[in-house]
Symmetry: C2
Subunit: 136 residues, 2 copies
Amino acid sequence: MTTLMLMRPLFHPSIEGITVEGILHALSDPVRVAIYTDIVAQQCSQNCSTFLTVSDKTIPKSTLSQHFRALREAGLIRGEWHGVEMHNTSRCAEIEQRFPGLIRAIVNAHAIQSAGEARAKKPVARRPTKRAAANK
Amino acid sequence: MTTLMLMRPLFHPSIEGITVEGILHALSDPVRVAIYTDIVAQQCSQNCSTFLTVSDKTIPKSTLSQHFRALREAGLIRGEWHGVEMHNTSRCAEIEQRFPGLIRAIVNAHAIQSAGEARAKKPVARRPTKRAAANK
DNA sequence: TTCAATAGTTCGGGAATATAGAACTATTGA
DNA sequence: TCAATAGTTCTATATTCCCGAACTATTGAA
């Protein structure tokens, strides 16, 4: 006799149930924030398997599933089944109502950081210093 | 022969070393965000023992010490020894330069949430509904 | 100088949380 | 009916968090 695995329904918090701590915790993970900013950027919904690799790193799908759950239960995204696949949309309009400016500030800060990292990684995009030119 | 405990110097990240993830993670804890908002509110510095109780809950001082370290190493506060006690000041001006609007949005969101919780807890501050009045 | 008091840190182990492989569910299309 | 696909749940391991106990470091008083 084997214990059965049941597929429980998705949980989404109400607007009042959404907390700042929950949002910050959910977005304090690099994989989750990458997923979330992508979902926000594409107004259209994004499904799980779009993110099997995040910034050149392969994410196991069980881990991905947990990340999506974390985002969902923090109230950041809404997921709904369309046949065998899930459609995810951001709830940023609702959150904007409860916590004005919060999501925008976080997404913006993340963009600034990513831009900085990209600049640091690709020195070709930078005007080389005299010293660097001499070392070449 | 006992292994000795050494008191290593405080670490503070440089501005470039501060990350969004780090900030969000540090502020995703209710105790830490309470400490931080207090330090931001009082421009003057706050020492550890001010926070032995946070929202009617006693926090052990070892735990508090860890929380202060987390805030420090996320780049949110700067701590410096003044004799036997530590003075903590917020680094929000620096962070504002790197991630404009981020801290303000988070502190503001937290204030909104706290106000909502306070309203929910003290029904006297709310105009009672007819139904509530009838049940009285 | 010595010692007690004070403020905070570090250590260690138990609790909670995160990661990821394997097995599973549920839907679709052939 | 069945294989393929998309995602979830289970489980074991790894990491992180919490807090009591022991410790460091400074100050002020005897």
